[in-house]
Symmetry: C2
Subunit: 750 residues, 2 copies
């Protein structure tokens, strides 16, 4: 374990300046407000290794696909989130020497992300030639309340002598994506003023304006305006021991929310209003907004400080990545912490993130994520049509920004189709938790019909097996490609058709007007299509190994050499770095939960013995070389009472980024898998289930924890669960009384 980050329940603290850690720390210390985000870059000049990263949700660019060998059906573009203007910049020269941590000696470095209030602070002393020690302290945040605002307080103190400082806050919009496929720039210059710069994305034409207001007591600024760079400079005396403080307020407005020709005005307004309110007021708003966020979702762990810090970090990062205010946005695997994976939407959202937001931020927030997919249904139908499907069959993309497929590996893009199942499952999961059946009539059924149609066309009848089969797929375990009859895929395909039928009947019975509208809009014929679906539901091939009493990951899995993970030479791990791809593919080793993902989704349908047998079989073969893997295994381990295993798997997930297990923090944090860590606590140890409109808890305490407590929002209530060695208490923080079950016993909480 890497103990670089200091332990603290509410703060992420870095106490040393290590140049080789700067890029990784920039990822960890990212801040965001759902609408935009900023990596933990330094305000002042830094000429060392860095990834300057500033991202605006929903502002993307379709980068031309790069492949080795083109396959028919590949998308032309990968829509990726854009690295955008560096708005935090403050150039500082003391006695003519530029402050640059890569070049000066640094002392007393302290870097803190305060998760309780959503602020990032940094302080350090640098030795400036001919000026002596200079102390710098900064605090910044992107406002949760004013979602188009970033604010910075930046203080400079000369500790050893009177001297002079030139201070130049600036916005630099000459920015490129590090992951551009062809090294192209994605932005073009539109216009500037002394205090703002407006840019436009190529191809997509998103306009964004960054406007600043700078305040430094008693100082006046000279404007230096050079195209994409706008800067204001002032030279101020630094009296020994007296702090000189700059306040920088930046309004960031995009054409997602404003007319193109009003962007500069809108951004200037945001900055001016912030200046009017003042930093302290804005900070107070921020503290308040974050207190409200935490109210329904904190997790307290007693007796394990590292676990405490880890889980709060996960929750914090998720809360600042997505707020559910805009159904055009979603959650990229790296959130606002880096460029990798293009900032696009994956099935991570449905499988991991929706349960988190549903239980911590409420129905409305999670619902926006469902609406996001609803709004992209027609694109999913187009996507399926490109692959030869007809009549309104929908295949949601593997990776997307605007509903169009972006990914370009045939084994993933075309074949990892189980994602369609998770998108349907999220609808079911939402309704199960909220009780809002009407969602089916409003939005859900249309999506379910599209998905069920896809499965009905994608399955074919095998006379050989006298069964319906689904050939040529990649399951969640991406260490298999192009397999036949992946159990999880076939199982969820069947379930999708069942649920679509059930939903259709419900809407027909309960919402006749919607039923007529949907039937007409989607050319849906319940009789003929339903009959076809029913035939497949009744007779789909679900591979099993009866002797081992397990579901079989896919046809032919037992032909593989059956070696266990514990037999692997540690020098050969991780397999994806040590083995060639074909060797991984033909081995029995599993990247992430596959059969077990299905068992997790549909726990009630399997006996405890079935769950245990499958868990033992597959866990022994799973290498967890995906950040999304350990959480599902941890939940199932807790369910079968293997607390050591559950805890071991939980720990791998919860501090993955804080401890930089995989040495890849430089690229950003694993945002979506953080939701999996939360699930491990709440559904794993906390045993929370919401089946059949009834909340229940089957709890267990990891051996080294004294107690843990979590809060969830459930149908208008805040429910507080505390598990300790002396038992499980469930209380209501707010809301109407509720009948629940705790460890098998009914209770009424008030």
């Amino acid at each position: 374990m890497n103990e670089y980050i200091k332990n603290d329940p509410w703060r992420i603290i870095e106490e040393r300046f290590l140049p080789e850690r700067v890029r990784a720390a920039e990822s960890l210390f990212s801040i965001g407000n759902g609408a935009m985000g900023q990596r933990g870059n330094f305000e002042e000049t830094y000429t060392g290794e860095t990834l300057q990263g500033s991202y605006i949700g929903g502002v993307y660019y379709p980068d031309k696909t790069r492949v080795g060998w083109w396959k028919n059906g590949y998308p032309e573009y990968f829509a990726k989130v854009l690295n955008s203007a560096f708005w935090i910049g403050i150039r500082v020269r003391v006695n003519g020497v530029e402050i640059d941590l890569a070049k000066l000696k640094v002392k007393d470095y302290y870097h803190e992300l305060d998760m309780k209030q959503g602020t990032l602070s940094r302080s350090f002393t640098v030795e400036v030639p001919q000026a002596g020690d200079v102390r710098i302290e900064s605090t910044r945040f992107v406002s949760m309340k004013r979602t188009e605002l970033g604010a910075i307080r930046y203080s400079i103190t000369a500790l050893d002598s009177d001297t002079q400082a030139e201070i130049c806050p600036y916005i630099d919009a000459d920015v490129r994506n590090e992951d551009a496929n062809y090294n192209e720039k994605f932005w073009e210059f539109v216009s500037n003023t002394p205090l703002s710069v407006t840019m436009k994305t190529l191809k997509t034409g998103f306009g964004v304006c960054w406007a600043m207001e700078n305040v430094l007591d008693g100082a006046t600024f000279d404007n230096r305006t050079e195209g994409e760079l706008v800067m204001q400079c002032t030279t101020v005396p630094l009296k020994k021991g007296e702090a000189c403080t700059l306040y920088k307020y930046v309004g960031i407005c995009s054409s997602l929310n404003h007319a193109q020709d009003r962007l500069a005005e809108a951004a200037a307004d945001v900055a001016r209003e912030a200046r009017g309110a003042g930093f302290d007021t804005l900070l107070a708003e921020q503290v308040q907004a974050w207190a409200e966020k935490w109210a329904g979702c904190d997790i307290v762990i007693e007796g394990d400080d590292q676990a405490q810090q880890g889980i709060r970090y996960c929750i914090f990062m998720l809360l600042q990545t997505y707020t559910g205010k805009d159904s055009r946005l979603n959650i990229g695997p790296k959130g606002f912490t880096g460029e990798k994976y293009g900032g696009s939407t994956y099935w991570d959202t449905e499988a991991y993130c929706i349960p988190f937001y549903l239980a911590t931020q409420g129905e409305e927030v999670a619902r926006q994520l469902l609406i996001y997919r609803y709004n992209q249904l027609d694109k999913a139908i187009e996507n399926a049509a490109k692959l030869g499907f007809r009549d309104g069959a929908a295949l949601y993309p593997m990776v997307t920004m605007n509903g169009e497929e972006c990914h370009n590996e045939w084994e993933i893009t075309f074949e990892e189709i189980h994602r369609n199942g998770s998108i349907a499952f999220a609808i079911y999961n939402y309704i199960r938790y909220t009780g809002e059946q009407k969602y089916l009539a409003d939005y859900g059924l249309e999506v379910l019909i599209g998905i069920a149609r896809f499965w009905a066309q994608r399955a074919n009848f095998s006379p050989e097996k006298n069964k319906y089969v689904i050939l040529g797929v990649t399951g969640p375990n991406e260490y298999e490609n192009n397999v036949n009859n992946n159990w999880f895929t076939n199982y969820i395909a069947r379930w999708c058709m069942e649920y679509a039928l059930e939903a259709a009947w419900w809407v027909r019975e309960n919402s006749p007007a919607d039923w007529e509208r949907i039937k007409a809009k989607r050319f849906f014929n319940l009789e003929t299509e339903g009959r076809q679906w029913a035939a497949i539901i009744e007779n789909i091939h679900l591979p099993e190994d009866k002797q081992a009493g397990i579901f079989l990951q896919q046809d032919g899995y037992m032909d593989k050499e059956q070696i266990l993970v514990e037999d692997l030479d540690p020098a050969e791990r991780p397999l994806n770095q040590k083995w060639s791809w074909d060797r991984i593919l033909r081995s029995c080793f599993i990247k992430q939960a596959d059969v077990l993902q299905g068992i997790y989704y549909f726990q009630n349908r399997f006996s405890p013995e079935q769950i245990e047998r499958n868990f033992r079989f597959y866990e022994a073969r799973t290498v967890h070389e995906s950040s999304l893997s350990p959480c599902v295994h941890s939940i199932l381990a807790a369910k079968i009472g293997d607390m050591d295993k559950a805890y071991e798997l939980y720990l791998r997930a919860a501090r993955l980024d804080l401890d930089d297990y995989n040495r890849e923090n430089e690229e950003g944090c694993h945002i979506t898998s953080m939701a999996g860590s939360w699930l491990s606590v709440v559904e794993g140890f906390g045993g929370m289930r919401a089946d059949g409109g009834h909340l229940s808890f089957t709890t267990s305490l990891p051996p080294n924890w004294k107690a843990f407590a979590y809060k969830i929002i459930y149908r208008g209530r805040i429910v507080n669960v505390r598990v300790s060695t002396s038992g499980t208490e469930v209380t209501l923080d707010s809301g109407e009384p509720l009948e629940i079950t705790v460890n098998g016993e009914p209770r009424l909480i008030k």
Copy 2:
């Protein structure tokens, strides 16, 4: 059918100048001499759409791999043949107007490739403003005798008036590959003289010098030497009706055959000697050399002019692509006609080309192709080691120049491992035809051991099946990826181990010194390794469908929807342009012979009924979307007596390029599949077999042919086979008497 090319038994003739056909015609009119080749580009300036292409066998560049998503094990580079200096260039200005067919009106255009003598000629008249009609005639060849020489005769005649011409022969070495992955230039300038330029390839450091000698009666040249461009200019009077003729002799010498510091001298020598000999002498040498080439290999078809022209074109192109003089060279899929596929070696060589060269150019030529692989054995062992194989197991690359793998699609690179089988089969095939068992002791056994070791490690035992299985492969039918137990792969894997054992015993018995040497060099233990191989040989899984009486392409093939090619909507063809890749993969449609490739290789092991059942089943599902596909099917169709099918499939192959079926001639011709066309005639209709050291012919005549005749070289003899409606005659052109079988009856030919 596209009847653009005029029919002629010995010539390829183009009688129109069509700008949109220029690039395609450049491919068709390529010339070569085994050591180098030149596309049919125009000597004079051409500003229209063109691919200037000049290639030198063995001079390659490792271009950095380009992929979308990196997989562990991919090679860093794709070694590709280099487009090199444009040595044919002659800039012509008449009355100051540059001759450029893209800009002037062209009349009486005539383009001819004479296949009998290996020359390319072109004549045309252009209307030159203020000068009237100007007639140009050119003839060029790359010398078969002097393999470092190219020669051009270029005449200009002013038809309408006296005028002046500026004539500037040049060499331009500022050349790039159109298929460069990152648009980089692969050459650097070394030095020049007024008559030569020397270049060096980056990374690989191959040096090449091009040196010219220009002769134009009575003219003196001014030298214009500008780095990579060397040019000589002269201005001559053009008297109305009198031809002015330039002779250009170019020596092309590379560091493959000369010391780097002697390249300029060597190339100048070649050019000077050619100038000394004179064009007519060189041409006479060329005619003589080609007569010798054709002596043992012509095919005459009576009653089908198109088929006649088609098959001669195939033979001609193969003869000018590879001559067997240098074991460092091989046959790229496009030969010297284009850049596609990098000019690298594929299993095409073993499966198609070796039988052709063996029977038409003799043992020594074919043997060089075997030695090529022998010389790369250690690289094949390294290649296997990269994929996790040990102890001298060899996996030959899918695509290579120098023995290192170049290809970068995991499903091909890592999984299309049947290629290893064809490389072993070529050794068997060579010995079967030549009787030279000693090849095993000299070279063959070492290769066979490496290959057998690979298969023994690649198979694993499935307790489920109680059989050895080979998982995760791509068969010859590349419309399936990552399948289990591809019948062809398993069958040839078994055969490789059998043959390696047989070869080992033979060498042990017959060549004890070689046996000891090989055992020591390859750490080979016949007892232990042989026992392991024998276990797999005895018990390998070979999937069958007993009900249908066929071998099964792979496990699970019968789960696919069984549609036939005849049921496909023609609008959906070719599938590889109309269907997404996943749809192709899960369909039953077959790109090229797979099970049938195995049946073709091992015909004697199957009953006529087995061959017919498998042929009927698989032919009905084969879309032949590879140029390598129809020939094997044609041979088997002839074998089972379905002459209509055999002829239909033959025609698809034999005029593929001449008629530009696939509209892809621009990229070059399908050189390796031309060997397949030859096989269709000689092994298909001609029914030639050489099993068990005995030559036999089982002949059949396509319905619309009056007769056909072919020659083969067999163990020092030239054998002449003529099949007509009145029967089959087999005679000897030269060599010792031979007992053969003709249509089941023994004969002695003298």
